[in-house]
Symmetry: C2
Subunit: 181 residues, 2 copies
């Protein structure tokens, strides 16, 4: 089971792919897409970059599912709109490829990887590194928190999927997004 | 010159295609996509419906450009996020097909078709019907305002493009989105 985690921000979109192998989590790849490189690209150029970046990542990693953070709070309507637009542009590529999209609240993602739903971004980053451990390429650095967050979302989905299968192996297939959360 | 106007709302997405022929505007087609049919579809299903609906309309009408309302105000961050997500999902299909996307403020769309930037939705609908006149199919009804708004946005782009060409025919090609507004 291989999952692509997506962390769509207003300026950057983080992608992180993780695979569950037995009881361990294996780093498959990570990418940072600049949503608005140069700052003044017209809308269709920005959307095209997101779309192509997503399709390229899907083709490189062939994930089985996509996981994304459920967004509850945004500072203001304008930034929420911008965020939603990048999110829709990114997710539609995955949806069009027939992948299921699972949403997890940010607090659950943090709790899953750090043990605390109120963990700081830096703690999430440290724990993601620890969880993926030796499967990370040597001297791997996360360029931005958008990437470690994306990997954390992928780990969160794999972890909760595993728990659901242990708890109810026969029902697992029927559970839709957000089920059991 | 044929333009697809898109009015993305949280529940419905209006599509309206208009062509400029000489000095008149010709109705090409209109569609209403339900963004959340049934109300409980998972995210990937909703996004896939928007994506497929858009691609199908693009293939049926072959527009030269896409026009969409610039959104400035949303009631709250949560609805702005929902709106932005539908907008991004819809526009990415157009952007991926290589179409330019032009944004116009709602007030300019209203002013262009009714003469008043503060016109009511019903006035916009009446004027869109008057402008497209006999090119509308007999007994044509707009199922919802989302459709008349989408047609108004397409008319707005064609009208302003025409004015720019009259004012500066050589410069017209260089003008990007929002230029001259």
């Amino acid at each position: 089971m291989r999952v692509l985690g997506i962390d769509p921000g207003s300026n950057f979109l983080g992608l992180g792919c993780v695979e569950a192998q037995g009881s361990s989590f294996v780093w498959i790849g990570q990418r940072l897409l600049k949503v608005n490189p140069g700052g003044e690209q017209p809308l269709h150029v920005r959307l095209k970059l997101i779309h192509e970046g997503l399709l390229d990542a899907l083709s490189a990693w062939s994930p089985d599912a996509v996981a994304v953070e459920e967004v509850f709070l945004a500072k203001n309507p304008q930034s929420a709109l911008k965020l939603g637009q990048a999110r829709g542009a990114a997710l539609v590529g995955a949806a069009a490829s027939g992948l299921e999209i699972f949403e997890y609240p940010a607090s659950l993602v943090k709790q899953t990887v750090t043990g605390s739903g109120r963990a700081e971004k830096a703690q999430v980053q440290t724990m993601v590194k620890a969880i993926l451990g030796r499967t990370l390429p040597p001297a791997m650095e996360f360029e931005r928190e958008d990437i470690s967050d994306a990997l954390a979302i992928a780990i969160c989905h794999l972890q909760h999927r595993r728990q659901r299968q242990i708890l109810a192996p026969k029902a697992a297939k029927k559970l839709g997004p957000r089920a059991g959360l």
